[in-house]
């Protein structure tokens, strides 16, 4: 529901993939009744440059457009129809420039420049050990190229932002999102205002999967800009085709892999060449590419790793944050390489992985020593036993259908990449009636992380969960807690919550001990009451305790703050401590393929994850099943078709995420608990690993069933039928 009197905002977007803007004529639009404003880059009071990592992305384009969907102007009008009419009447004169739609074309000599300098946005490198020497020790070497495509997030709730000006120098924006403080920063940049002039509130959000980390700050900035300029409340709601055409996707990538193993089945070396397609703007690509580079060996110990990566611009829709953040595509390649090596060596794929997987004392691709919290071996053993792997080593035929089983493993560094400092805050307030307010900067986007924080708080202060209310993230009420992304919501936000809870607990215990006339160490807090441990009949309800704390002037409210351990890395060699902890996962998948039609069905999934500590096992199951579905879609049906920069299927009708009817049977997840030393109760993030492991598990199961390797996704019926037909004609 949009409140009455709210103006509607729509964005005029480029219809050209690469062109100079010669003229923008808004006069016809401004003459329409009901049009409040047409705003372009010239009207932006602050900075028009909003690039995330590199300064290559204008807020509104008035010089040049870089892809079909690039924002040029915004229209503010009394209703949607008027805004649409206004959009349709604005005249933009373009001078077309040659466009580039392919990464190889983009880096070829003489390619048209998409931005001011070369079409490579960023490069990465790792030189660990001596790869050529490592390959000399190898008995088998496998080389292959893998293509990972775009993926749309396809959250059900579209991007929405509602902004209203208050007085002459304050604006509040209520938006669907997952990064309130980043949104505040972008609004401040665009308006040229200070952070405390802007308030962002993020209510329950209907899915983000990473994209709203990128889109919500921009939506907030468009809405705030329009509200401040017109002095009216303004609402912005993206249309589904607009979301599919113009907003960031999973970055496409190409991996060229060379992997070697010796006669004992030990990995000796890898050489990896990564080309990331960033599209029109680099956005998060430096971090994405770095994550792929830093995880390039997979969850295995390889002493010789040479890795080179580059992120390349094209005139297509740009990439951005997405669950799995680079690691999904990477493990799609790594895990098929592992299967191929095992196959060449004649070793069972699971035994081969167990010989090589990271353990305490191992070093990662970046030479980071893992001294604790490494549970990949237990994950692999777990799915091996649960799935009855040893009895499933032969594919099974039934008429035209064949069933096979495959494994996919993975690991995912929690929190931000490239050693960027990471922190989160939390506030915990006890009311006089013994109830609590909990304020966090971590958003509820369907994953349940803030509820996990509350379970942590309840455990520490002995409160009933129902007595704690979670407030929607509000930048005026809580310190910058960084975005709800990178599997960090519970690990970082929950640890900040614990910090506040521990502080409050001290005061609760102190006052309770004085009221019950015992020592503080004799106090037990549970069920929202304070007890004497040895005399549980003597108790005080939190209500009375709170009253007493307020009366005595002992603080009933605390702020919590947590920063992750310091990390470092050397950009010359790529070596260092990149992530302070890793979540590990393994998945066995059963697929059934109709060889007459090429249709691949994911029938059953056995998941395992090393979660450090399971704060809420049911929510972990939720994350595993949701991520598995999303990975299944990426592997089998989600196919964003882009031709000459045009998205050909910008609708739910033609871009097919899996439906309920495609959902496989799930075995209960095996939760391995190898606690992490620096987070509350040892918890690690769980939102992403399952999407990483299911994709190669499906690919390896397809190979097991049919002997066919899939180097390009998605494996649509059409594509697989062709592969199968070609393989069987030979």
């Amino acid at each position: 529901m949009i409140p009455k009197g709210t103006a509607v905002l729509k964005i005029l977007r480029s219809t050209q993939p690469h062109a100079l803007i010669k003229r923008i004529d808004a006069t016809p639009a401004l003459s329409l009744p009901g049009v409040d404003a047409v705003l372009t880059a010239k009207d932006v009071p602050g900075e028009n440059q909003i690039g995330y990592a590199l300064p290559d992305q204008p807020f509104l384009n008035n010089v040049k457009v870089h892809y079909i969907g690039d924002p040029i102007a915004i229209v503010v009008a009394r209703d949607e129809s008027t805004a649409q009419d206004a959009l349709d009447s604005i005249i933009v004169d373009y001078e077309s420039l040659p466009a580039v739609f392919d990464v190889d074309d983009a880096i070829a000599p003489g390619a048209p420049l998409i931005h001011e300098s070369e079409n490579i946005a960023v490069k990465t490198i790792i030189r660990k050990g001596d790869a050529p020497k490592g390959f000399k020790k190898a008995k088998v070497i496998v080389e292959d190229t893998y293509w990972s495509p775009y993926q749309e997030h396809m959250y059900l709730e579209p991007d929405v932002a509602y902004a209203y000006p208050e007085g002459n120098h304050k604006v509040t924006i209520i938006a669907s999102g997952q990064s309130p403080h980043l949104a505040r920063e972008k609004v401040a940049i665009v308006l040229g205002w200070r952070l405390n002039d802007i308030k962002i509130v993020i209510p329950f959000t209907g899915g983000g999967f990473g994209k709203k980390d990128d889109t919500a700050p921009l939506c907030c900035a468009y809405a705030a800009f329009a509200a401040v300029k017109t002095g009216k409340p303004v609402a912005l709601i993206y249309e589904r085709p607009e979301i599919l055409t113009a907003t960031p996707k999973r970055f496409p990538a190409r991996f060229k892999y060379k992997s070697g193993a010796d006669k004992n089945g030990k990995l000796t070396a890898i050489e990896v060449d990564i080309t990331l397609e960033v599209g029109a703007y680099s956005n998060r690509s430096p971090f994405w590419l770095w994550r792929q580079t830093a995880h390039a060996a997979g969850p295995y110990e390889v002493h010789n790793c040479w890795i080179d990566g580059r992120a390349v611009y094209t005139n297509k829709v740009y990439g951005g944050s997405f669950r799995g953040f680079g690691n999904l595509a990477l493990h799609f390649a790594v895990e098929q390489q592992m299967d191929k090596l095992a196959n060449e060596l004649g070793i069972d794929p699971i035994e081969f992985r167990l010989k090589n997987c990271l353990r305490v004392g191992s070093k990662t691709t970046c030479d980071q020593l893992l001294d604790h919290s490494v549970g990949i071996d237990k994950c692999i053993e777990g799915v091996k036993n649960a799935s009855g792997w040893v009895n499933k080593r032969k594919s099974v035929w039934n008429g035209t259908k064949v069933t096979g089983w495959g494994i996919g493993c993975g690991y995912h560094g929690n929190s931000t990449s490239r050693s960027t400092p990471d922190f989160a805050g939390a506030n915990l307030i006890m009311n006089q009636d013994g109830t609590f307010h909990y304020r966090t900067g971590i958003c509820e986007i369907g994953q349940g992380s803030p509820f996990g924080h509350v379970k942590i708080i309840a455990e520490i202060i002995g409160a009933k969960i129902d007595d704690i209310n979670i407030e929607h993230p509000d930048t005026d009420a809580v310190v910058d807690s960084h975005p709800t992304h990178a599997s960090r919501g519970l690990m970082m936000g929950g640890t900040a919550a614990a910090d506040a809870a521990i502080k409050l607990r001290e005061n609760l215990v102190k006052v309770a001990a004085s009221m019950l006339e015992c020592k503080p160490e004799e106090i037990d807090l549970r069920d929202s009451k304070a007890y004497i441990k040895k005399k549980p009949t003597q108790k005080i309800p939190f209500k009375d305790l709170a009253d007493e704390m307020y009366a005595r002037g002992i603080s009933p409210a605390f702020h919590g703050f947590y920063a992750g351990p310091k990390r470092f890395f050397d950009p010359e060699t790529g070596l260092g401590v990149n992530y302070s902890c890793y979540t590990f996962a393994a998945t066995v998948a059963e697929v059934e393929i109709d060889t007459e039609t090429g249709q691949v069905q994911l029938k059953k999934v056995w998941p395992a994850m090393d979660v450090g500590k399971a704060i809420d096992p049911l929510m972990i199951e939720g994350q595993i099943q949701g991520a598995t579905s999303q990975g299944q879609g990426f592997a089998l049906s989600e196919y964003l078709q882009v031709k000459n920069g045009v998205v050909l299927n910008p609708s739910m009708k033609d871009y097919l995420a899996p439906s309920a009817m495609d959902t496989p049977e799930y075995e209960d997840a095996i939760l391995v608990e190898e606690p992490y030393n620096y987070s509350v109760f040892g918890a690690k993030g769980v939102g992403e690993p399952a999407i990483i492991t299911i994709v190669p598990a499906i690919c390896n199961a397809i190979y097991h069933a049919t002997g066919i390797r899939t180097h390009e996704l998605p494996i649509t019926p059409d594509r697989f039928y062709k592969l199968y037909k070609e393989a069987n004609q030979q």
Binding site: E80, S81, Q84, E239, R240, P241, E242, E596, T597, G598, Q599, Q601, L636, S637, Q641, L648, N649, K653, D654, L656, P658, S659, A660, M661, D662, T716, P717, D718, Y721, K722, K725
Partner: protein, 291 residues
């Protein structure tokens, strides 16, 4: 996608009322479930002035058995068809087409008349209706006529309907005891999607021989199509693998599939053969024939 503008919604109670409005209001368009029309309006930014709601006309809804025929009103929803024992027992190919069409929500709102008049080459009810020898009752204020359904489609989203005409009903002969029909399709996922290819077949059996046969395919040409040449190959012959393969081959030659975002022409061609074989086998079993 464009905003849907305001329009007048006219809700007549009788067929005569509908036809009168259609002949007097030039810009009037009929609408039933709206599951195809509303998205089209929004996709192309079309601003309808007058919409005539058909679902308020009681005589246009329902499934009836009458002497040799089954009569179906055009505003009968797919869910109504799925819940009908007459359809389930006697018109298997139509029932199976309805069962995979769209989603539960679309089947609850969408109507058989809408699915046919929308004239999508991929319409999942079309092949079943074709093989069951359906005739459409078409009416305007001036004229009432019966048209075999395979003559109804002209091209993608185009039918023989004149601006002042509507489909009043469907008439389907009650199939004899020795008959059977089947529908199958290939989609890109298990539900909620448009068919890459769909196919229905109908057989009547005399001992081990095929007495009568009809084959229809969707999404392999500009309209749903009946493949008469393939039917001829089957008629009067013993039902076996060889004859199935022959029929499938003729279907592959006759169709005119294209490459589009849902599938390639080559894939459609090969899947046509698969579906023709699979539906013929099922239909034959349903006639009581052994195979």
């Amino acid at each position: 996608m464009k905003p849907l503008g305001g329009f007048d919604l006219i809700r007549p109670r009788t067929i005569a009322g509908v036809l009168e409005i259609m002949s007097s209001l030039e810009t009037a368009q009929v609408i039933a479930g709206g599951t195809d029309m509303i998205p089209v309006f929004r996709d192309i930014g079309c601003k309808p002035e007058h919409l005539i709601e058909l679902t308020t006309v009681q005589e246009l809804n329902g499934i009836f058995e009458e002497k040799e025929n089954i009569l179906i009103g055009p505003t009968t929803t797919h869910t109504q068809l799925l819940e009908s024992n007459i359809v389930k027992e006697k018109l298997s190919a139509l029932w199976e087409g309805c069962s995979v069409l769209g989603s539960v929500q679309i089947r609850n709102r969408g109507t058989i008349g809408g699915n046919i008049c929308n004239a999508s080459p991929a319409a999942d009810t079309a092949p079943g209706l074709i093989v069951h020898g359906t005739e459409l009752h078409i009416g305007s204020l001036r004229e009432i006529k019966w048209v075999p359904i395979e003559n109804f489609f002209v091209g993608p989203k185009i039918t023989i309907l004149n601006p002042n005409e509507i489909v009043i009903g469907f008439r389907i002969p009650i199939p004899p005891e020795n008959s059977g029909s089947a529908f199958q399709r290939i989609g890109r996922r298990n539900g909620f999607c448009l068919s890459i290819v769909n196919c229905a077949t109908y057989l009547e059996r005399d001992g081990q021989k095929v007495n009568e046969s009809r084959i229809a395919l969707g999404s392999v040409g500009p309209t749903p199509m009946r493949i008469v040449d393939a039917e001829k190959v089957i008629k009067g012959k013993k039902f076996d693998e060889k004859m199935i393969a022959e029929a499938a081959a003729i279907c592959m030659e006759t169709i005119k599939p294209i490459d589009d975002i849902r599938g390639s022409a080559d894939y459609r061609k090969d899947m046509t053969a698969v579906l023709v074989k699979r539906t013929l086998s099922t239909a034959w079993r349903r006639t009581g024939g052994a195979f």
